[in-house]
Amino acid sequence: MSQHVNPVEPFLRMERMPHIWCPGCGIGTVVNCFVRALLKTQVDIDKVSVVSGIGCTGRIAGYFRADSFHTTHGRSIPFATGLKMANPELSVWNFSGDGDLIAIGGNHFIHAARRNADLKVVCVNNFTYGMTGGQVAPTAPLHSLATTAPYGAFERPFNLPFLADSSGAVYVARWTTFHVRQLVKSMEEIMHKPGFCFIEVIAPCPTAYLRRNRLGDGLEAMRHYKQSSKVVHGADTRSVDIELGGPIVVGKFVDRDRPTTLEAMRDELHKSLGDKYVPYPTGVQR
């Protein structure tokens, strides 16, 4: 590789640049971190698949030079589940916005965590629906403004690490786009970790969220992330709720092991069917 080439470029579809994201948007940072994690872990990119739903975050799939799937709103997790079941040797990464993953896709999310589908799930949480112009999301902090919550959000938002943890995820972390080193490290850690791994990335959406809530621009958001984040590894996920403009607890909260869907299926079928079971690969080396 020539020294002048940005090391990130070979992983991206440069012919599709410029990308659609706004200046100051946090999604690009997540892309960058993922590429760095790929570089560091030296995985075979041919065996990495990137799956997204619909939304600004959902466009991530389209910019990766990997087998990539831009599916339907909310349904990237079941698509990814099918892909992984069909070809267990793939490393299947799912990038979704909070609306995509947790509102319309919330049921799939909890079930994939419950069955420990062997997926790496990264949620870009910007507290709103970016692509459609800033409607209220199930992550919107109380009293935050959105086009469809013009007088302020009045529903209790989901605490995503708690949701993932209580649904059975084997790895749960939260970072902000300020914490790039830590985010890369988390991505490296889950690259080879079997099971449902979840990383929430708190990210600025200047266009549809920050401005409307008088939280400044992307830079201001970074300043806020820097000043108001507290790293608490192993924090009780029940305690990591986020309030409007309030502190953000970040860190690695959960790291445990249990059999993946395919491992559990293999063990059960083996026990019940004996010789009649035709073994199916799990893609897991333990």
């Binding site: 698949s49 030079r65 087998d67 799937f69 599916t71 079941p78 099918g82 079941m85 070809n87």
Partner: protein, 386 residues
């Protein structure tokens, strides 16, 4: 190619349509299925859950039909032949993903064991009222293939055919059973594997490179070859309007080019897709048109009519979408009238009317929950001939 013997339960069996459909799928090489139980299709997922682990496949019961209908598409890109099955409300939930499969050209088979609706309707009772939904239930312009079996034997034979068509045309295929066919038990003969022709997915001949274009068709073809995931092609699949590379393009030209090809690859293939049966049409004044279970009921109506000296025949489309239109047009030039019998208040009759030109077309309708009385259809024929 010949079928993989592992999936072929060769022998003479006594099976209901749901079970026979499952065996047809396994014989076709289906090794991955996702589903969610709903009457009257539950027996298909039950049998496939039981059988797949013994033939080297996987089944997962998903959290709902929305999940099942897209999990199969992930699995199809992962290299498997795939199936999902449902009925009524579950099929309605799958609709967005039938459009996705059409748009992304993902081969997959959706089995619909039709029950009476709308809404929860009559969960355990027969209807054929999803025929227009099968064709155009998802938003936007697209065409699919829809097949209507009328016996457990056909549930086996035609499920295999459905998989072959899904692979050949890279399209969702709607396998339109109905409660009566699904729950009817008859003799089913499953041949030896070497007697079963299965179509394997056409892979790109070119090696992975920067020049590779996911949706580039070979000259003269409207169906691009499909690469497997994980082999270096590094392709992009999207439900957005896209170019040959699979990249989103947001303009009217790209839309026209893509959607026209997607529709044409099915619509213009009607001559090779057409499958129908005919009985005593040569001298017929009236031809009864019926599909699925109703195609058996009209046999009796035809016999009753012939006993009364009325010249009545039967035309039974097996592949209902695209409709075997060349043949229907030929018949229209010779007969006095078509009587279309279907378990709905008028769906396929609209297509027959369109194709019949000036030839009179009359509907023998039934809202579902039971089959037509053969005599009721006979009465319609008698009125037409009066």
């Amino acid at each position: 190619m010949k079928a993989d013997p592992r999936g072929v339960l060769t022998g003479v069996h006594f099976l209901d349509g749901d079970h026979a459909c499952c065996e047809g799928a396994l014989a076709a090489g289906c090794r991955c299925a996702f589903g969610y139980p709903i009457t009257p299709s539950t027996e298909v997922v039950e049998r496939i859950a039981q059988r797949l682990p013994t033939v080297g496949g996987v089944f997962l019961q998903m959290e709902d039909e929305i999940a099942s209908s897209i999990a199969i598409q992930g699995a199809a890109w992962g290299g498997k032949k795939v199936l999902s099955v449902s009925s009524g409300p579950g099929i309605s939930l799958m609709m967005e993903h039938i459009g996705l499969a059409a748009m992304t050209e993902t081969p997959c088979v959706f089995v619909n064991v039709q029950r009476a609706g709308p809404s929860t309707g009559l969960p355990t009772l027969v209807a054929q009222a999803d025929m227009m939904q099968a064709r155009w239930g998802s938003h936007g312009d697209y065409e699919v293939i829809a097949i209507c079996p009328n016996s457990p034997q056909e549930c086996f034979d035609l499920t295999l055919h459905a998989f072959n068509l899904a692979e050949t045309y890279r399209t969702p295929v709607m396998f339109m059973m109905d409660e009566a066919v699904g729950h009817m038990t008859e003799r089913v003969v499953i041949p030896a594997a070497e007697q079963l022709e299965v179509v394997e997915r056409r892979r790109p001949r070119e090696k992975p490179s920067d020049q590779y274009a996911l949706y580039r068709c070979e000259p003269g073809s409207r169906v691009p070859p499909m690469p497997p995931v994980g082999e270096g092609y590094r392709f992009h699949v999207t439900g957005l309007t896209h170019d040959e590379r699979g990249y989103p393009v947001m303009n009217a030209e790209a839309q026209d080019k893509l959607v026209r090809r997607l529709v044409d690859k099915i619509r213009l293939a009607e001559p090779e897709l057409a499958r129908y049966e005919e009985f005593q049409v040569d001298d017929a004044d009236v031809v009864l048109v019926a599909y699925g279970i109703t195609s058996r009921v009209v046999q009796r109506s035809m016999r009753l009519a012939r006993e009364r000296g009325l010249k009545v025949g039967v035309f039974r489309p097996v592949v209902v979408w695209p409709f075997p239109e060349r043949r229907l047009r030929e018949l229209a030039r010779r007969v006095k009238a078509f009587v279309v019998a279907e378990l709905n208040l008028g769906q396929v009759v609209l297509e027959v009317e369109r194709l019949a030109g000036g030839t009179r077309t009359v509907l023998a309708s039934h809202a579902g929950g039971a089959l037509h009385e053969p005599e009721a259809i006979l009465k319609v024929v008698q009125e037409v001939l009066r």
